[in-house]
């Protein structure tokens, strides 16, 4: 029996309606990032596993395969590690660098977890830049990028891992607790398991002041006052690493983020490669993070280049889920109406010329060839129709066809342009056409 013609689990086709939305979102986000001075890059789909792992623990299970050289390869499970590799080995002289990307990533998932195994990541990395201003830049750019996607309601939660790391260092220094305990605390923080965390810091060997601090800090959230509260706890213990920087970033962020950013010390995310700022983005109606990011000053040194870096990435698919959930969304790209130009057997050149003129004028024109659907079609004869709101075009041919029925809402007196009017000069001066639709307002609410 023939196999059902399916795609692999967690991999899927993108059909035109969705593809057009994706294209529009990607174009707008890339435009935003470009305006901030970020340059596009691409990395290979396959990487050498050992090389990626050199940069840091892989946060997701990758697809693995052997090539003909018996090299163990992976389909890239994220883009940050490949960029660190690329920059450290090939772009050292170009630092500082601001890079942006749109690339699919591939991650193994268990069955029946409703998880895609291929998803599109949109992100930026600012390499060779340190300090509060660079952190603030990345947070604000993430806000603008999410707004450019069309999202109106979203939250970016930020904090720093520095304070937690210093606290744990101090705990180990002042007690006989070991690495195992530290790792369990870090895992509990990463999983946001406050119950486990509470159990771990209740260890009798731990100084009560540290226990109290660890318990309290992960519950702090809000704005600048949350940073101040964290400083009040951590400074007397000599563990305030990263908090001054976070406060300085916050001052900038608060002024421009339009209420989309909040401080949340429970975002002790994640991957062990973060060294300072960490961030996660959320939107109502979607139970998972849209994206995440932070500062990873140690990753490039794993590839032999001592340089700081900060960045974010978000999933296009998750953002689209959030967009659908936000009723009344007006961020969808408006696709200009499509005009149809019939190719008449006796003079096909005229139709191509006519369509070319329309495109040169920034309009969308599709050729209707051979037996392609006749109803509602625009002919290259004297009579022609256009989709609602679009200028009607006619390519004048001697033996004109009968006028096609007008589309609903078509203008009563369409402007008529003849094919012979087209000259190379007029085409050259025309506005370049676009398939992406109109730009939507790009900035977050201020």
């Amino acid at each position: 029996m023939a196999m059902l013609p399916v795609t692999p689990r967690g991999f899927r086709d993108v059909l035109p309606e969705e593809a057009r939305l994706r294209e529009g979102i990607i174009a707008r986000v890339q435009r935003r990032c470009s305006l901030w001075g970020y340059a596009p890059i691409e990395t290979p789909t396959l990487e050498v596993l050992q090389v990626l792992e050199q940069g840091g623990k892989l946060a997701h299970q990758p697809f693995r395969l052997f090539d003909a050289d018996n090299e163990l390869l992976v389909l890239r499970p994220d883009v940050t590690l490949p960029i660190a590799r690329m920059v450290a080995t090939r772009l050292e002289a170009a630092l500082p660098l601001r890079l942006r990307y749109v690339q699919p990533v591939f991650r193994e998932q268990e069955q029946l977890q409703a998880q895609a195994r291929e998803r599109t990541q949109i992100g930026v990395e600012a390499l060779g830049l340190h300090g509060a201003a660079a952190d603030a830049e990345v947070v604000l750019l993430l806000c603008e990028a999410l707004a450019a996607c069309g999202l109106r309601d979203f939250t970016v939660a930020i904090c720093t891992v520095g304070v937690l790391r210093e606290l744990l260092d101090a705990c180990l220094r002042d007690s006989d607790l070991g690495e195992d305990w530290r790792n369990r605390v870090l895992r509990a923080c990463h999983e946001s398991n406050l119950v486990t965390l509470d159990g771990l810091v209740s260890d009798a060997r731990l100084d009560a002041r540290y226990a109290q601090a660890l318990r309290k800090i992960v519950t702090l959230s809000g704005g600048g006052e949350a940073i101040a509260a964290c400083q009040a706890i951590a400074t007397p213990l000599g563990c305030a690493d990263g908090l001054d920087e976070l406060a300085a970033s916050w001052e900038i962020i608060e002024a421009f983020a339009g209420g989309h950013v909040r401080v949340d010390f429970s975002v002790m995310s994640a991957f062990d490669y973060y060294t300072g700022l960490v961030l996660e983005a959320y939107a109502p109606g979607v139970g998972v993070a849209l994206g995440s990011g932070g500062r990873y000053d140690g990753m490039l040194s794993a590839y032999g280049l001592d340089a700081p870096a900060v960045g974010f990435a978000f999933s296009l698919e998750t953002v689209m889920q959030a967009l659908v959930a936000q009723v009344g969304d007006d961020g969808q790209p408006q696709t200009p109406d499509l005009q149809t130009v019939e190719v008449v057997e006796t003079d096909p050149v005229a139709a191509f010329r006519r369509a070319g003129e329309l495109r040169a004028a920034g309009q969308r024109a599709v050729l209707q060839v051979a037996d392609e659907g006749a109803a509602g079609a625009v002919t290259t004869g004297a009579g022609a129709t256009a989709a609602p709101g679009a200028a009607t075009a006619t390519a004048a041919t001697p033996d004109s066809a009968t006028p096609a029925p007008a589309a609903p809402g078509a203008t009563a007196a369409p402007a008529t342009v003849t094919a012979t009017a087209a000259t190379p000069a007029s085409a050259a001066t025309a506005v370049p056409s676009t398939n992406f639709g109109t730009e939507v307002p790009e900035c977050p609410k201020r």
Binding site: A114, T155, N193, L194, P284, G287, V288, A289
Partner: protein, 211 residues
């Protein structure tokens, strides 16, 4: 106008204690005392969802509900991303390994010769992790209920199951071989909801204060 806060409440043995805890935390729980066949109970700006215990982590993790009360057993077995906020203390039970009191041959002796032991359980993930930690090689059979029958019928040598008092095990002439872990009820939240909706942390605080 904020959306209703969606809270999953586990059916079954944790139900009564869960409802009482939510009541002590100041929520209107009248509709929960006798919901009949109704699975969703609305009360002001809160919606309660009455969910099968093992499905609670799924509802929370995927954002079907914002927060929930759930046994640690279900959380560990599901191994999904949720934020564990409060240990509520009630619903205490233990995960144990058990075998028939009067086995023809001790399971350990068979293991010496066979190199593998068959374990029946409702909790394959917890079971696998436990025996991996112990360095014991096992074949795991997943059953959906009345696990005690497995060793009695000879389907498996041992079981991993939860027990609160040990009564069911005793009545089926099973004895506890070792303890896997202890479990209590937890208040958990969806990651995105906890980070964006302050009502969940407030509720966590009140639940913690009125245990």
């Amino acid at each position: 106008m904020p959306q209703a806060l969606k809270i999953a409440v586990p059916k079954g043995s944790l139900y009564a204690d869960s409802v009482a805890a939510l009541g002590r935390a100041g929520l209107d729980i009248q509709g929960l005392s006798d919901p009949g066949r109704q699975l969703r109970v609305c009360s002001g700006d809160v919606e309660f969802y009455i969910v099968r215990p093992s499905d609670v982590p799924v509802f929370v993790s995927y954002g079907g509900v914002d927060c929930a009360i759930c046994g640690r057993d279900s959380l560990e077995e599901a191994a999904l991303d949720v934020i564990e906020l409060v240990d509520l203390g009630f619903g205490a039970c233990r995960f144990v390994v058990a075998e028939p009191e009067a086995a023809n041959r001790p399971a350990d002796a068979d293991y010496q010769r066979l190199g593998v032991m068959r374990i029946a359980t409702k909790y394959p993930r917890i079971t696998a992790r436990y025996f991996d930690q112990q360095g014991v090689q096992v074949d795991i059979v997943k059953l959906h209920g009345n696990i005690e029958l497995a060793p009695l019928s000879g389907l498996a040598e041992r079981i991993v199951d939860i027990t609160a008092t040990g009564t069911t095990l005793r009545e089926n002439r099973l004895r506890i071989v070792s303890e896997v872990m202890a479990s209590t009820a937890r208040f958990v939240g969806n990651i995105a909801s906890v980070r964006t909706d302050p009502r969940i942390r407030e509720l966590a605080q009140r639940l913690g204060e009125h245990k």
